[in-house]
Amino acid sequence: MKTLKCLFTVTLALLLAPQAASAQTIGWTVPTGTNIVDVGARGTSISGDSARYERYRDLGDGLFLEALRWDGQRNDWLFSVKGDHTFYKDQRYVLRADRPGRVKGWFVWDQIPMLMSRTTQTLFGQDFTTEPNVFTIDPAIRAQVQPNASASPNTAIVPTLFDANAITFDTSGRRHTMQSGLEYIATSDLTVRGVYQYTNREGVIPYGGSYGHSILVEFPAPISHVTNDFDTSAEWSRGKLLVRGGYTGSWFTNDNTTATFDNPFRTFDQLPSSCTPAPGISAQCSGNAAIGRSSLPPSNSFFTLNALASYQLAPRSRLSFYISGGTLKDAGDPIMSNTVNPLNQGVLTALDRTTVEGEAKTFSTNLSFVSRPNRYVDVSARFRTYDYDNRTPEFALTQRVSYDNAPGVASMSTLGGVSVPYTTDPIHTEPFGVDRNTLDLDFRFTPRAMMVAGVGYSRLGESRTHRLIEDTTDHVFRLTFDTVGNQWFTLRTKYEHADRSGEATEEAMEALFGIGEHPGIRHFDIAPRNRDRITILGSTMVRADTSLWASVAFGKDDFTESEFGLRDNSHKIFTLGADMTPRDNVNIGASYSYEHYNALARSRQANPPSSPNLLTYEQYLAQSQGSSSTFQVADATRNWASDGTDRAHSIILFGEVLNIKSKVDLHFTYDMNRAEAAYNYITGPVTDRTLPDEAPPTTLTNCDVPDNCKLPLVTNDFDRFTTDLTYWLKPKIGIGGSYWHERYRVTDWALDAEATSREVLSQAMILGYNYRPYTADTFFVRLLLKF
């Protein structure tokens, strides 16, 4: 559903950009083309979650140099200096020098903070700055959980220990970006361009580690990344020919590619005597770990070479060809051992290899032809290919250490309850690759001025490795009708039908059964589906000073062969708006939008069979559409569906009155958003929305009590009001004041304060990052100096 929304949103954003721009502006807008300094002081009163109010910005109290703008000219050169939020964590500076027709250079420094929480807590108490990827708990605290290896851990005491010893810290991060670039027009035919970008990220994010089912630990995983990017190109054009060649290189370095963390619920490793501590594993061991280690993102590099040639054909036609080839590699770091648990070290077998050897080749081409041979017709044709060829060698897994607990034979459990060890069915990694080719054909006809009708067809063919459906083909048909270029009335309409097909082979479905998945599952990103969607966007000038606009979009995806998984996905979006300019210095507007999304996904709640009642693939197929008292996995009366509905209402009001008595400018904006999400569970077949189901509906879990068979509403309410008043004492000196008000309310069964109020449960220690409401008021007084 969101894919549909993406396209609609972009289209809508482009159409509504002029109207939306005013409403999106927060507070006073720095005039363009004016040399100005905006200084002053700011203060905020806030109740509730101050971190969420700031999030990606710094609204610290005190003096500010909010904006600096200077444009200058010297000889043939144009210079520009822009500064925003100076000395604050979200400061940004842009310097530009431009000698038109010859050379252009720029430098950008941009800081983006990310403040997630000021109230997160943890028992991990070490200095995160010295060992950011090793999370330890004070041994004295751990001793209270388990004083010695022979004692059973007292997990019930952990909440008490947490209350007494947890530290409170900010979960935050920041991204600093420096970009510099130069564009040089060497001759009238040749332009060269080079851009270098340095990005540094620092901070922490919540990250989870598990020691087995229901033993859960969160820690603040370190972020310490540097990415260096180069992008260079040379473009030569003469007459009808344009040629461009380019190189891009990107090197990503992560200072922490592993994280080690203590288990707060166990102090000593445990390895049962039944598991022989000798090289080689002959049976599944069981044990419990007091320390674990997780992987974090690997360092890598990616570079591409690309070239483009474009030729102007007569009449009004152009043929272009683009080709690009790239290499993506990991940094060659060694693969960590299967566990950091010291008791397990003696029974670890050698890994299949010592480094990831991650490498992928990319290859892309794009051939396009556009033509407008006369004023009635224009056509475009494009054929695009993209190949992601993953050359990372498969890695054979013979021994697995789950949760760092205990080494065991790498095996897969089938849906029938049989555990297949690696000795008969080796487990390998699946280096995923994809090869796409896309043909787009569009024909547009302009029978009369300002009226365009179009028809189009696209074919998207994709071949993948290591997916249930390896080959898919999507046929897309579209019709459009537009009236544009008329100052009084604009209409854009589009209807699209798409049909994606692809076959899950019998072999693939049996392989699914072999890894414990239902053969009837179809992953929705590759599943066969029909798609229909309609978009209508219109605007009209009802008077010279008033425009009205509206849009409607609705559509549906039907996953026609999915017994399990996402079954359908629909959306409806309506928007209405108006803009008025009753006087030259007055602009007001309002809009309302409603969005509705619905999706149905299907599953079967079941435990696997256990010996001696095992199930073969053939037996499963024979039984899975009926009821079964022996095999839950084959019992269709245990089917259920989640019916999820998202609704969002949004109102935007904005207005500005400028130059009142040649002294005063006034702006205001108001946004109101109300969103809710409902999740209901349905047992048995769903009429018209699931495949034919022979089994009668039944009850599962608590679905015999309807109110229980759903989740509470998730709600998000957000209001924002801003107003700004500027009084110009003199043409170049102004004083002003601004006021921002924001209010956020949330109920969320997973992430609100109530849901996460018990950071420490009997077997879980989370950081307490959550969604909490806030009400914030920020006041500005400012002095504006034009120069």
Partner: protein
């Protein structure tokens, strides 16, 4: 967006591009996303195929009401593809969150991803299920 740090042109070039959907960088949606989120670029030992195939399978870059701009709320998003036995196919209803003493760890906080943290891919040799 609200903080004025990103705008449409951060990702799209309305004047045209060689990528799909007028994306200004890379030759695929994933290449555009990982030009900023390079830590998700891999290649990993264990790949979560949908994340390699296209970030937008799970994320809506234009925004959503869900944490990390997910297209649906976990665990329901994950359950759209994972219908194995035991916890992936369990109904997490009112009772899963209603018990004051022990709500299910599979639904509260970050749900599935709290344990399956390395969901974009893992270089841990036992990272098959993205738990390490």
């Amino acid at each position: 967006v609200r903080e004025q740090k990103m705008e449409c042109s951060s990702c799209h070039n309305v004047h045209g591009s060689t990528n799909v959907r007028l994306l200004r960088k890379g030759d695929s949606i994933a290449e555009l996303c990982t030009s900023c989120h390079a830590e998700k670029r891999g290649p990993y030992l264990w790949e979560h195929a949908p994340s390699r195939d296209g970030c937008v399978t799970c994320h809506d870059p234009h925004g959503s009401s869900n944490e990390r701009m997910l297209v649906a709320k976990p665990p329901l998003l994950c359950q759209r593809c994972h219908v194995a036995t035991r916890h992936p196919s369990t109904i997490y209803d009112q009772q899963a969150i209603g018990s004051a003493s022990a709500p299910s760890v599979r639904i509260y906080a970050r749900s599935c991803v709290t344990c399956h943290s390395a969901i974009h891919g893992s270089n841990h040799p036992s990272g098959q299920r993205f738990i390490r």
